[in-house]
Point group: none
Chain length 215, copies 4
Amino acid sequence: MNQVEERAPVSRADLTREKILEAAEVVFARRGLSGTRVREIAEAAGVNVATLYIYFPSKKDMYEAVLESGVRPLVELMSEFAAGERGSRATELLFTRVMQHLGTRPYFSRLVYLEAISEGSHLPELVDRWLRPILEHALGEARRGTTAPPWEESLSPLVVTSFIHLTLGHFAIAPLFREFFGSDPLSDEWITQQTKFVATLIRQMFPQIAEAQQA
Amino acid sequence: MNQVEERAPVSRADLTREKILEAAEVVFARRGLSGTRVREIAEAAGVNVATLYIYFPSKKDMYEAVLESGVRPLVELMSEFAAGERGSRATELLFTRVMQHLGTRPYFSRLVYLEAISEGSHLPELVDRWLRPILEHALGEARRGTTAPPWEESLSPLVVTSFIHLTLGHFAIAPLFREFFGSDPLSDEWITQQTKFVATLIRQMFPQIAEAQQA
Amino acid sequence: MNQVEERAPVSRADLTREKILEAAEVVFARRGLSGTRVREIAEAAGVNVATLYIYFPSKKDMYEAVLESGVRPLVELMSEFAAGERGSRATELLFTRVMQHLGTRPYFSRLVYLEAISEGSHLPELVDRWLRPILEHALGEARRGTTAPPWEESLSPLVVTSFIHLTLGHFAIAPLFREFFGSDPLSDEWITQQTKFVATLIRQMFPQIAEAQQA
Amino acid sequence: MNQVEERAPVSRADLTREKILEAAEVVFARRGLSGTRVREIAEAAGVNVATLYIYFPSKKDMYEAVLESGVRPLVELMSEFAAGERGSRATELLFTRVMQHLGTRPYFSRLVYLEAISEGSHLPELVDRWLRPILEHALGEARRGTTAPPWEESLSPLVVTSFIHLTLGHFAIAPLFREFFGSDPLSDEWITQQTKFVATLIRQMFPQIAEAQQA
DNA sequence: GATGAATGAGCCTTCATTCAT
DNA sequence: AATGAATGAAGGCTCATTCAT
């Protein structure tokens, strides 16, 4: 139980720090590290620029704190599932939960994509601490579920990349889709549909089990 | 034959301009418009900073010229197909050619993604001049190939977004995949495989025709 | 009594702003708007260049603030006299006060002359807000003092221009006179003498009154 | 006779050089040395910027050539009179000729004033080579014309400065007068009137002679 | 003789960061 | 805890100047 942590006395300083982190996430997600002006963050957070430096030693540290605050819940989510039961059901649920979480923090996905596009220095950490574990877990499940691999081994990258596209990618380039369709990719309906689509794909990766379920 | 055009007198100025455009594409694709320093472009192009301003009035104009030089060949590609024959074959070929082109200009995909992520002001133009035409062309084809739509109408966005992910997305976040797999998403093999995957999806969108081909 | 106004809280920012304005006046008066380097102003004011931009949005705004701070007291001086008594005495006093003021702000005269020579965009405002009112006031007085105009109407421009030369011009090209005579045109003695000369001219413009005084 | 000089074969280079000098005079007269951009001169002269550097080693040299070309004819004018007859007539004629010349080269007056206002490094030369000789000549004449000085010795600076104001000043701040009166101080009528005014003042400096003339 | 093309230095302005209050 | 005020370094852009053609 982490109730104690959550109930911890929320000081004024903690609130300010949180306010800054949230504002920074939004701004960094649009302009990246080098493109972001600290003044924008301060304005978005409603504090003086100097205040930022009370809580973070530099813009870069602020950026890293934002990344950390985005990765941590996902890593924790992963941990829960690592210890739990297995199978397509569990994998499906994992991805559903990931999608839900990403939906509440859409700017995090953009940060990851920005790191990818700019070949940022934090990309390796993001991949190793979060993306690789979560996807290898799922792939491992899929392989365990059948004697033969559920797809030709050579297709593996295709599967992995597709999942990344459909989850992270959906939130990262949401503005493009919004421009294209005129409707909001971050709406509950769209996220639900997108989640179902991912679930469908997962079920197709577990043929036997899926069949068993249908029976 | 456009030999005459290609044989057009290539002045020293034209060469420099081209050199700058190519360097600018690479740098902008990493840092975006606001994150890019003109000095980086100059260094990448091997010219003095002042020289940039002989050819482009401002950094922004340089950026727009880069976008334009990336969109134009794709629009032209689209035009060719708009007038040609139809069917899954043609659509497949169109996407194959698009993939090939994107593969030779991988930085353009990143520029588009950066515009999307940063909700850049050029996103609408990119969508309207290029993305929408090409995808609506394909969708139109798919709808023509069968009395009933090949998928529930409500899925349409899912199909469109998936194609964008699998084509543009592949090149845009190639660094992430390179980090993940340790191999190069821009290699011929990988691009070929990715292209085949897209082709498979297209064929699945044209059930009757696909069946007829199998017969 | 305007002690209250003068006792207004003088913040550190106000002091810095004033320091910058004074330095800017001196530098602008030597090089004009386009010839002045902001670094010169910063050095003259003893502050960092960036500090200038905390108080003024741009070099041009700084320049306009300098002009304004130079014109305002002269306009106020004019206002006092506009409401007061008339006659050669009053006019003489007005010019005496103007000379005194110009003597304490010799750089302002140069600014006006620079605007004139460079046909600057602020020249019309300077003429309309200050020069024209003050000179038309004096001319009006002179015309009122006698039934016949004190000089042929056609000479009016000659009178006006002469007064400008003898007042503004004296301070504007003081460096030339200093070079010529080796003594300082801004010294009290010289200013006094110059003022007396102007007064003499004014008295000659009010013949009757002048005669009456002699009587 | 300097006919030979004037008839010297006018090469294309000479024409270009002259074209540049004239353009430079106009531009320098508005912005001064530091405020002037060589590109402006090139454009005004209708030549390429590089061409300027064929004729002048640097912007500063160009500036000095302009000053020289403005001073030389005035020095020559002075030389003629130094050897000629004396008296108020001659002095009057000298000033008339100077006024005429300044009227044909109004930009030169502005250059001198700019040098004065900016305390430029060429001011001493301008004063010593031209202004001082011409004015001391006139003063010397005036003193010779009478046993007692025509004015109290202490007024001398006042007389000198007044003449400078009325001659150079008239052309230098012509834009201000144009703004004030809406008519052109460089028109023949105005220059004529201004010249007459100077002549009147000169006559008042030579009381005996003037009286003799009236007789 | 003239110019298109290029550049190092410098300019105006803004940035990230610090410090006294 | 927070901010107003200040600054060194850097950013975009322009300048005077050079050189190959």
